[in-house]
Amino acid sequence: MLNYLWGIMILTGMLWGVANNNLEVVTQSLLESAGEAVTLSLTMIGIMSFWNGILEVGNRAGLIAWLAGKLNPVLSFLFPELERDHPARLPIAVNIVANMLGLGMAATPAGLEAMKLLQQERTPGCDLHRATDPMCTFLIINISSLQLVPVSMIAYRNQYGSADPAAILGLALLATSCSTLVAVIFCKLMGARRRAAKR
């Protein structure tokens, strides 16, 4: 996907530059943007290393496992199909907590593990290529964005001269809650509809 997207972006820019007869500006922008990416990364290294270090302190002290344990009532509400001892519950909880903290590196492996366990534990004899309700709920909630502190965003804003880079945190939290709330309501409605159809 990205291969086509990137190729189209570059070619469109070049052709548009030819059509508008401003190819020297295009060339100059090409050189400047490449340099800008490096400058940006240098600043990002500072903030991202610090935040990642802090999160690792929490991770090694067992914070993620502890928070994941606290999530049990939430999981029972979101995934009524999964019994309390279902093996996928732990990776789902870890994925949600890691996503909230902005620990993408810990979130994705846990999420993939959860998917694998949901796939293994399904009722035998059904269509293995068809997503189950817990899979759908898990993925929709995951995509609704759970991140509480978008640290890289603060870094980008800081780099581009924002007077108050963290000013967006409250609004981002509010917007993220809205999208997650919509996701939860949607999944609950779909679950209710399926149960009604079964009866």
Partner: protein, 173 residues
């Protein structure tokens, strides 16, 4: 209230985690160093992607294409009550995080990160995910092809995030 949360969130999380680590009798600084090293490698790891996509956005900008595109999108933008420069950003956001970051940084350098456009872009990027990428990674890993209501649900949640971002930014400023 919202400003207070913005100001308190980072110090609160940092002191909570460090306190939690100390109470658990962990070597907190050693743990910090290990994590910081990983964080550094992540940033260096995405540098080539960033160079490739920021250059592509730079070329599109300099050629005048992005301005023309915004002009074309003015009508659907007015209909959706979206600022025109945000439309390419929201569409790319569904496919690629780094390409969307490139476009967002372009909005930052043109209009400033504290402008209404810059704020909406920041909040929007923070409250949505790369829909198509996530679905293909997660379902691809277990060979699920019948995705049922995942795509409509994910797009609905994303639309709610975008609408909330723009509404809250314009409403509170």
């Amino acid at each position: 209230m919202i400003q207070w949360i913005s100001r308190m969130l980072v110090p609160l999380i940092v002191s909570y985690i460090v306190g939690f680590g100390l109470l658990s009798r962990r070597p907190v600084f050693d743990d910090f160093l290990a994590g910081a090293k990983d964080g550094m490698q992540t940033v260096i790891g995405i540098l080539p992607t960033l160079i490739g996509l920021m250059t592509a956005v730079g070329v599109l900008r300099a050629s005048g294409f992005l301005d023309t595109l915004s002009g074309w999108l003015a009508v659907p933008a007015a209909w959706l009550h979206l600022p025109a420069p945000l439309i390419p950003l929201t569409l790319i956001r569904l496919i690629s995080n780094s390409a969307a970051t490139g476009l967002m940084l372009d909005i930052f350098s043109r209009y400033g990160p504290d402008s209404l456009l810059g704020m909406s872009a920041s909040v929007m990027m923070s409250s949505t995910e790369t829909v198509f990428y996530c679905i293909s990674i997660y379902f691809g890993s277990v060979h699920i092809t019948k995705t049922r209501y995942v795509l409509p649900g994910a797009l609905l949640a994303t639309a709610a995030g975008i609408a909330a971002s723009i509404y809250f930014v314009f409403f509170t400023n």
